[in-house]
């Protein structure tokens, strides 16, 4: 399985990461090596094996519908790079 440059570009877009051409080139090579290595998993017969999504055998973890203290707005916004009043600010979205 090869991860060609077009696929990487697409995946970089899905990951919202801008890649410079040199990076794209390097990643292409490195990811190809890694994927070739990972491909050894294809040797195994896993037809009747169920996947492990959760290593713990626990179920039904809940909390009660009881209010807990929220953060004050100022605290929530403390790290915001751009804010306006009590809102987080982002570049204008055009829908």
């Amino acid at each position: 399985m090869s991860l060609n440059k077009d696929t990487i570009k697409q995946v970089a877009h899905l990951s919202r990461i801008h890649l410079k051409p040199a990076e794209l080139e390097m990643l292409s090579g490195q990811l190809k090596d890694i994927l070739d290595f990972i491909d050894k998993l294809k040797k195994l017969d896993v037809a009747n094996i169920s996947p492990t999504s959760h290593i713990l055998a626990i179920n039904n973890v809940f909390r009660e519908d009881v209010p807990k203290n929220s953060l004050p707005a100022d605290k929530a916004l403390e790290n915001a790079p751009v804010k306006q009043g009590k809102f987080f600010g982002v570049p204008k979205i055009i829908e």
Binding site: I17, K40, I55, I58, N79, F88, I93
Partner: protein, 478 residues
């Protein structure tokens, strides 16, 4: 001996006997950090003295106001927690991680100046930190291991009494081995992950890095336990782990997996581990070869699952609410440029790989398949633990390598996790303890594995070995 050289339990005794105060200890530690950290680079964003929480006023608390050092991915309220990444520059969480709360309640003094790590815990050498690598106190030209390299180096160089690290594929155990200290990865679900900035949610655990096994048990008593804020934490009683510090392994059945003594592993490391096994035999343990047949698939499985989860967990770093934000014309540009500027090479590599294995058309072939092989790996361990009390392996196939040696070969770097990774995949508990040195004077690490929620056996075997050897008393010449 200087105060900063002592273990946590020795310092507790000093305070109990009124031979020293917690203030004395903090001063001594601060002096030590100032004296040597420029060489070791165990701490990040250090300017002058390390910042710390207010000392507890309770003179009878368990931890008596003794300082503890914290890895940069564990949230401390209102203090910089940045995962050694540019993208989290300046981030101050508005809350404490659950383990921090527990430590504070037990009277610990939290050092708010954090220890170095590979960015977002992606790495096995701490070379991926945006603050530069930490240096191994045993040989400053060598890596400390990673990703909890800063914590391990600080403990090894007596710049920390004890420390917390995190372990997703070996990030506590491998640096502990490289730095000649003790490091434990608890059973998955034993310690709350609330407040640990996530790498791979189904694999991460916070754990102690300490100078000896007793200190490790002491910290485990405090940080373990069910947390209603973490749906993956388990409501299983926390025993007093110090009760397991018994000097006796007679009759303990230890499995030695043949697949863990591969060709290409460092001969010196191999010898130290074999000698250790010999010593345990001499002390009465029954050591037998076992097989974990799917071992060779662990690294590929790990790099699919861990990167997939990482790509998802890191999606939130986008400049909207915290951290780095670049100037941009529109929101998509802002996302892309922020993440380009903010993520280092390894982070980018893992996010892209992780996104790929989850993407449409590849999910079944990669992610789903990896989850199935994970089941096979777990089953291997279940079979062995049905007969054996614990398993012993080398922690790492090599001792600390030179800074720069593997950084340009990601695959080579990934393979250094080969002995630690399966533990996270199977959700087991494991500890690394020093078991000697190579000819070059670099530490070798012995890893003990236990089935889930059986940390007691780890402490028993580790303590016995430690008490019958003197590796833990050796210090780097600093």
């Amino acid at each position: 001996m200087e105060l900063y050289r002592l273990t946590g339990h020795e310092l507790i005794r000093k305070i109990e006997n009124k031979e020293a105060s917690s203030q004395d200890i903090l001063s001594a530690l601060t002096q030590r950090i100032k004296a040597i950290d420029a060489k070791v680079n165990a701490y990040v964003r250090l300017s002058g003295s390390p910042e710390h929480s207010l000392p507890s006023l309770d003179q009878t608390s368990i931890l008596r106001g003794i300082p503890i050092s914290i890895k940069d991915n564990i949230c401390t309220q209102d203090h910089n927690t940045e995962c050694c990444s540019k993208i989290l520059e300046g981030f101050r969480p508005p809350y404490d991680a659950t383990v921090i709360g527990k430590l504070k309640n037990s009277g610990a003094l939290i050092l708010e100046t954090k220890t170095n790590m590979d960015e977002f815990a992606f790495g096995s050498s701490t070379e991926n930190s945006c603050f530069g690598p930490s240096h191994n106190p045993w040989d400053l030209e060598c890596v400390t291991g990673g990703s909890s390299g800063g914590s391990a180096a600080a403990v090894a160089a007596d710049e920390a009494v004890w420390a917390l690290g995190s372990d997703t594929g070996g990030s506590i155990r491998q640096p502990a081995a490289f730095c000649g200290v003790v490091g434990l990865k608890p059973t998955y679900g034993r310690v709350s992950r609330y407040g640990l900035i996530a790498f791979a949610s189904s694999l991460d655990q916070i754990g102690p890095i300490t100078k000896d096994v007793r200190d490790c048990a002491t910290l485990m008593n405090i940080i373990s336990g069910y947390d209603p804020n973490d749906s993956t934490s388990v409501n299983v009683r926390v025993p007093d782990y110090t009760q397991s510090l018994v000097n006796d392994v007679k009759g303990i059945k230890i499995g030695i997996p043949r697949e863990y003594f591969v060709e290409g592993m460092d001969e010196e490391v191999k010898k130290r581990v074999e000698e250790a096994i010999g010593q345990l035999r001499a002390l009465g343990a029954v050591c037998q070869e076992v097989s974990l047949p799917h071992t060779e698939y662990a690294v590929p499985v790990y790099y699919i699952i861990a990167t997939a989860e990482a790509s998802s967990n890191l999606a939130r770093f986008d400049g909207v609410q915290y951290g780095l934000r670049t100037e941009a014309q529109n929101i998509i540009d802002m996302y892309k440029k922020t993440r380009d500027k903010g993520f280092g090479q390894e982070a980018k590599r893992r996010v892209i790989l992780g996104t790929f294995v989850l993407s449409h058309g590849y999910y079944d072939a990669y992610y789903l398949r990896a989850l199935k092989v994970r089941t096979l790996i777990k089953q291997d361990f279940d079979k062995v633990f049905a007969e054996f009390d614990c398993i012993i392996t080398p922690t790492s196939p090599t001792s600390a390598f030179k800074i720069g040696e593997k950084i340009n070969d990601p695959l080579k770097m990934y393979l250094s996790d080969i002995y630690t990774i399966s533990v996270n995949l199977a959700g087991l508990a494991a500890i690394s303890i020093p078991c000697g040195f190579t000819k070059k004077g670099l530490p070798a690490g012995l890893q003990i594995l236990a089935k889930p929620f059986n940390e007691e056996i780890l402490f028993r075997v580790a303590h016995t070995y430690e008490q019958n050897t003197a590796w833990h008393l050796q210090k780097p010449t600093f």
